[in-house]
């Protein structure tokens, strides 16, 4: 079976409060290979900002216990991402806080 050629999607990311302190910036655009999910995004984050992943996904802990990721997609009501396997779509606006 041929796997489809990965195509990049772009998500827009905002950092709020102490998360912005961790990144040193407040927003950026990130390209991900399709299909992408929250876990992949955290991999990218961890590369850029070592120590980022454990804040949202503590080792052996519960995903997003003391932090949260809000997703706004296509003019629909926003929702919180509570599962690292949550698929991401091109154009998603993700707010980490």
């Amino acid at each position: 079976m041929n796997s489809p050629q990965p195509a990049p999607i772009h998500v827009f990311v905002k950092y709020v409060g102490r998360i912005a302190v961790m990144t040193g910036r407040v927003r950026e655009s990130i390209a991900l290979d399709e299909p992408a999910n929250a876990d992949h995004l955290l991999d990218v984050m961890e590369q850029r900002y070592p120590g980022f992943r454990p804040v949202f996904d503590p080792p052996g802990g519960v995903f997003n216990l003391t932090t949260a990721i809000i997703c706004r997609r296509g003019g629909q009501p926003s929702f919180s991402i509570v599962d690292p396997q949550e698929p991401l779509k091109d154009g998603d606006v993700l707010t980490f806080w």
């Binding site: 102490r18 407040v26 003391t66 706004r72």
Partner: protein, 641 residues
């Protein structure tokens, strides 16, 4: 009988005669209503009936501390209460140090009666209490008043509550302004101005007694863990500790909660950024009495450029949220706006929602330059926003109309403009979402004090994974916290109201209701019992909150408020948040109100507490009062809006 926690004394000041007296606090009242917000309403209910108009001699202004004030739990919280110009409870809390000083001076409450003929100010230094001439203070802004009082008394650590020009000029919702830019009490500044009481300054040197010191210390350390950056399990705490409500800018925007352009839009770009604020304007921390957060309160300063030299203190208000409401993007302008409101004791919500209403009316052609003193009044015009704020403070031209409050202004202008006047019970809205937060919509609608989120805040659950499975909650957390469903909102909002009434009566700061402290009240009970020496159980403790809210409801019922007054602006009921595809609330509000009144034991048709409900809470005096006045027989339908 020796008091622990409570000082046990009430200070009465009659402005008409100059008579100053102290009396013993009623122990029964203290046990039933705790203190601060609760005790205030207990006294106001007994002493200011419906025959007294807000601007009559007989209206009173009450400043309340509580039993835990002066301990590190109190955080300087004061509750100010009066009969609001619109006749509901003009109540508001403020932080700082004023209230702690009042306790150290040995008083639980200060009740101000009647009116002075000429401006006076009140000085309280322990047992030395005196009224002084305030002709040199009148007309000055609040910061000048504080500085003059400090200089005149020579007491560096004195804390001052004062009224600004908005109160002196009787703007509808003027607030009382405390040292360090703490403020509260919508309408209390108006009544304080009407009574010609310029300021109340207080400094105390006594002790707040604690019944069981070891238990109190252990309970405090346990409480403190929620706010310790190393041990907190609440996502809000680390960010709130430094950015306070400015961190909410993006969160409100992302969730469709902002009231951009008078709540015509739920998304605003570019939203002001809290990090930019921190970097350019924040100078150092400045906190309330014993606040455990490092810097929920900060000193700001505009160092250069527009409005350079403007400085002050800010904390929970997230004042940058003013920006989307009137459509502006400039930090210097919102900072200047904040400073103008603080100096004048003008309610920010009144100013911003009134001006936003005027901007919408102008853009829709309902009003034009002939109404606005020749000004273009369009969303996004930051200079016009400040100019109009100043006109409200001075009651000049169109500002004189806006100073009446947005509901009254819309009545005067008419031509359908009432539809854009965002108010509840005649008081301007505050920056709380409704269409995407049904618990908040209900909370705002049923408030006895006009729109006031501190009465039910926070309305979110702790992470459900942290709730112990065996915990017995009075609502279903999985249903009740669903934001766009009316399910189980009655029980949730009842719980939020009752429990927050306790915290505001101890008092403590509502921003301390984080993590499990929002749903588990055993830690609060232990703090209360160990401090005061009381030994009631949890049910008894929660019932005190229920009793306070029922008495507050009884107060506004006696003033003629009914079910029809418990509502939210038409915009929230009828218009969607287009940018986030969130529908209007529609009939769901009435469904939730049915539910709420039923779980409260209030009559569904009228929102009047039933006799058995009041008797069950030990409010027999209210039952007698209601019978004497024929409240249950009356066919009044409210309609104060």
């Amino acid at each position: 009988m020796s008091w622990h926690g409570w000082a046990g004394r009430v200070l009465r000041v009659d402005l008409a005669t100059g008579r100053i007296s102290t009396e013993e606090l009623s122990m029964q009242k203290a046990r039933d209503f705790i203190g601060c917000r609760g005790l205030n309403v207990a006294y106001l209910y007994d002493e200011v009936g419906p025959e007294v108009g807000p601007f009559d001699q007989g209206n009173k202004l009450i400043f309340g501390a509580g039993p835990l004030e002066g301990t590190p739990i109190g955080m300087g919280r004061v509750s100010v209460l009066t009969k609001h110009p619109n006749r509901f409870l003009g109540e508001g809390g403020a932080g700082g140090h004023w209230s702690a000083e009042l306790k150290f001076a040995g008083y639980d409450l200060v009740i101000v009666e009647n009116k002075a003929e000429r401006p006076v100010w009140l000085l309280i230094v322990d047992d030395k209490v005196e009224l002084r001439d305030a002709s040199h203070l009148w007309g000055r802004d609040t910061k000048e008043k504080h500085a003059i009082v400090r200089e005149e008394t020579g007491i560096a650590g004195i804390h001052v509550a004062s009224v600004g020009m908005a109160g002196e000029n009787l703007a509808a919702n003027a607030k009382v302004q405390f040292t360090l830019d703490h403020s509260g009490g919508k309408g209390c500044g108006t009544i304080m101005g009407d009574k010609k009481l310029a300021a109340v300054a207080v400094k105390g040197s006594g002790m707040v007694s604690v019944a069981h010191g070891d238990r109190f210390l252990a309970a405090y350390r346990n409480f403190h863990k929620t706010f310790d950056l190393n041990t907190t399990r609440d996502a809000f705490v680390p960010s709130w500790s430094f950015n306070s409500a400015n961190m909410l800018l993006e969160l409100f925007n992302e969730n469709g909660w902002v009231h951009a352009h008078n709540a015509q839009m739920g998304l605003f770009e570019p939203m002001l950024n809290d990090v930019e604020y921190m970097d350019k304007y924040v100078v150092r921390p400045e906190s309330s009495f014993c606040c455990p957060l490092p810097a929920c309160g900060r000193r700001y300063e505009i160092k250069e450029g527009l409005f350079a030299g403007t400085t002050g203190d800010e904390r929970e208000v997230g004042f940058a949220q003013a920006a989307p409401i009137v459509g502006i993007h400039s930090y210097p302008h919102v900072i200047k706006f904040r400073d103008m409101c603080n100096r004048a004791g003008l309610d920010e919500d009144q100013a911003m929602y009134s001006i936003a209403w005027a901007m919408e009316c102008y853009e829709r052609g309902v009003i034009n330059r002939s109404d606005t003193d020749g000004m273009e009044l369009r969303f996004g015009d930051a200079d016009a926003f400040l100019t109009m704020t100043d006109k409200i403070i001075r009651r000049e031209g169109f500002g004189d109309i806006l100073a009446l409050g947005v509901a009254e202004a819309a009545k005067r202008i008419g031509k359908g403009s009432e539809r854009f006047a965002l108010s509840i019970k005649g008081k301007e809205l505050e920056r709380m979402p409704q269409r995407n937060g049904y618990q908040m919509a209900l909370g705002l609608a049923v408030s006895e004090g006009g729109p006031d989120h501190t009465r039910w805040y926070p309305p979110y659950p702790p992470n459900p994974k942290t709730i112990p499975a065996d915990m017995d909650l009075p609502f279903d957390p999985f249903k009740a916290f669903k934001t766009r469903s009316p399910d189980d909102k009655g029980r949730l909002v009842r719980w939020l109201y009752d429990s927050r009434a306790i915290v505001e009566s101890l008092p403590s700061c509502v921003y301390m209701i984080r993590a499990m402290l929002g749903i588990d009240f055993r830690p609060w009970l232990e703090l209360f019992n160990s401090c005061t020496g009381e030994n009631g159980d949890l049910d008894d403790f929660i019932q005190k909150g229920t009793r306070i809210v029922n008495l507050e409801r009884a107060y506004i019922v006696r003033e003629g408020f009914r079910r029809a007054d418990d509502t939210i602006p038409r915009r929230m009921l009828e218009e969607p948040v287009k940018e986030h595809n969130i529908p209007p609330i529609g009939d769901n509000l009435e469904i939730m109100k049915d539910d709420y009144y039923q779980v409260r034991g209030w009559d569904k048709e009228t929102a009047i507490p039933k006799e058995e409900t009041l008797l069950g809470l030990g409010l027999g005096n209210v039952v007698e009062d209601f019978k004497r006045r024929g409240i249950w027989e009356s066919t009044e339908e409210g309609g104060h809006e």
